[in-house]
Symmetry: C2
Subunit: 115 residues, 2 copies
DNA sequence: TACATATATATGCTTATCCGTATATATTGT
DNA sequence: ACAATATATACGGATAAGCATATATATGTA
């Protein structure tokens, strides 16, 4: 992991929004992100794949769902960078909207299964 | 300034390398950056203009030279983000090479004029 | 004034990146 | 086995981003 790689990944809005939600929520499946960000599923999957390829996020299957979370083994500088980004995002409309939309989701898989 | 804007600016190598040198050195003119990064002048100027347009850097004329420095009034999260980026860059070959090249520059304008 | 140096910007081109659609794979439930 | 749900990926097209060259502007110097 290098600053170049991480920053390129963070330069796309879909990846940025996904990561900020993952920072806040810890773990989310594709359908939750698709709902929260109000985007089509292949778009979410494609960008999560890019993050996964560089090991910024880790995926984990649970039944039909695949959950993503931020790699806990990122170097310190990368965690600090993500923290700073989250701090800057807290004021942003887009971020607030995404969180709100996620909270409003009915039948979230984690509410149905015992994780 | 939003995370989206700053991260997009940081996603280009020329801008990233320029900013890291500015973080380290405080203030540099276009010709110093051109020399240190080993790139052509219009390329440096173009990317500095992008950073200036979003007020990530401030320019200041001193005779024929125009010096750039990082805006000291950036929000805290942006400074933290840049600090984390620098921290991650310290290990990188490219960064070390750029710093070394800068130090090797003869007749640096700041060495000739009384700033 | 004329020339040299430093910097900025406009232009047309190339390339990278992102997109939506279609489709493939995996899992669960009937 | 079949249908439904969740996710991943391949593909061709669109858009954005970066590039080098050429040129314009500003400053300093002879």
């Amino acid at each position: 992991m290098t600053p170049e790689i991480l920053l390129k990944l963070l330069s796309d809005q879909t990846r940025l929004r996904s990561l900020m939600l993952l920072m806040q929520e810890g773990e989310l499946c594709v359908c939750e992100l698709t709902y929260a960000l109000d985007l089509i599923q292949p778009k979410i999957s494609r960008h999560l794949a890019a993050l996964r390829d560089m090991q910024v996020v880790i995926d984990k299957r649970a039944g039909q769902w695949i959950y993503y979370h931020i790699n806990s083994k990122l170097p310190a500088w990368a965690n600090e960078l993500l923290q700073a980004t989250l701090k800057g995002s807290l004021d942003e409309k887009q971020y607030k909207r995404d969180i709100k939309k996620l909270k409003s989701m009915k039948n979230r898989p984690e509410n149905r299964i015992c994780a």
